[in-house]
Amino acid sequence: MSDPKYDCAIVGDIPVKRFADLILDIGTFLLASGAHSGRVKSNITRMAITWGFDVNLQPTFKGLLVTVKSHCREDDTITMFKESPTHVVHLEVLTKVSHLSWKVYEENLSIEETENEFDKIKNMPHYNPWIVSVAVGFSCAGLCFFAFGDVFNALVAMCGAFMGSVFRYKIAALKYNQMISISIAAFITTMITGLGTVFAIGNYPEAAMATAVLYLIPGVPLINSVIDLIEGYLSSAVNRALFAGFILLCIAAGMTLSITLLGIDNFKL
């Protein structure tokens, strides 16, 4: 898709700043929703080709740096940086933005229409926290079965994951630091599953201990970090790995606190 498909008579009057603002908005929102850098680049490139721009990106975890050049007016160029919003994984945004960029590429959407469509995507709601918490409970129970736990272990894991997830959303809604909410959620979950271990509920309580906190695992940043490494976006990869590693550390800190409160000798390797 490298052939010039733009027509300067039609798209030549889009100011570079307007285009840069739009792609910065889209790019940072994609980064915050859990897209890897290659996806941000390919989605933005589709729009740039349609409207006759040349784009170079430097994605990091905290923001996006772009340089935009106009093909129609050679000396018209701009470099801008925008910080990304708080990272909340929301894969539906990836679908919607991908559809939007293909629509621009294939149906030659104008920049006004694209801006309006993107405003709609921005206001798209996530699943209700209660539904997510119930789902989290079920998935942790399922993972507990995979770790050779029995039905009682799975019930303990489900209960712990549900309670932890509810508290996580509540603390996050009070605008505390993300790391605090994750540590407290890990603490609460491990408290419940740890009590299950102390009172020897089920025949393999370690399975519940290990799997109930898995809903906090930063799976998307971890996997995106490896994908970025493979595709050569090194700074973004390092940033994501650091972020994910620190979340893992926070989970471990929360778990350590409750394990030591309950007595480390109750937990065998």
Partner: protein, 174 residues
């Protein structure tokens, strides 16, 4: 008799992985329409891994095969449901997340902060190193499965991959 046992345990594995895949999809905000695809892919990948584990293929090899299978079928499924594949391969691959090894790494890490415990039982260091390496390797294999399209095909978008287009045409009744 033995065959029904094996089939039953495979079916159980598939069913649990289906639920886990759908629920991770909800956590990650996957669109409602493709939640079921995430579940099916998760079930398929995990029961493939289960079968290979039963056949003594080794944990890392089995997980790699499972996640690569998810990646490939995800490319074809992306054409059918018109979504980027990450949207459902991500929750599907997370069904194979190495939680138990990560937990053991952490527990051993807490225990070695106490010197007397390490003096009594030095193998705890080996346990920690082993579990840490295993966790990292398994995470890496999951990532390979998800970005298999970027690794093996030269197109930047899954929409332009030829073999997926062919399969899509073969399976479409219109």
């Amino acid at each position: 008799m033995i065959h029904t046992d094996i089939l039953l345990s495979i079916a159980r594995d598939f069913a649990i992985a289906f639920v886990v895949g759908v629920c991770w999809g909800v956590l990650f905000g996957t669109p409602k329409k493709v939640l079921i695809v995430a579940g099916l892919l998760g079930g398929l990948g995990h029961c493939l891994r289960f079968i290979l584990l039963e056949l003594d293929f080794g944990l890392i090899m089995a997980t790699l095969t499972g996640s690569v299978a998810i990646g490939f079928i995800g490319i074809v499924a992306a054409h059918r449901v018109d979504n980027p594949p990450v949207v459902f391969t991500m929750p599907a691959c997370i069904t194979m997340i190495p939680g138990m090894y990560a937990y053991k790494t952490m527990l051993a890490g807490i225990k070695i902060t106490d010197l007397s415990v390490v003096d009594d039982n030095p193998t705890i260091l080996i346990t920690m190193a082993h579990n840490l390496t295993l966790t990292m390797s398994l995470l890496f294999t999951l990532a390979i499965g998800i970005c298999i399209a970027a690794l093996l095909f030269r197109q930047t978008s899954v929409k332009e991959i030829e073999f997926a287009k062919k399969i899509e045409r073969m399976t479409h009744f219109k």
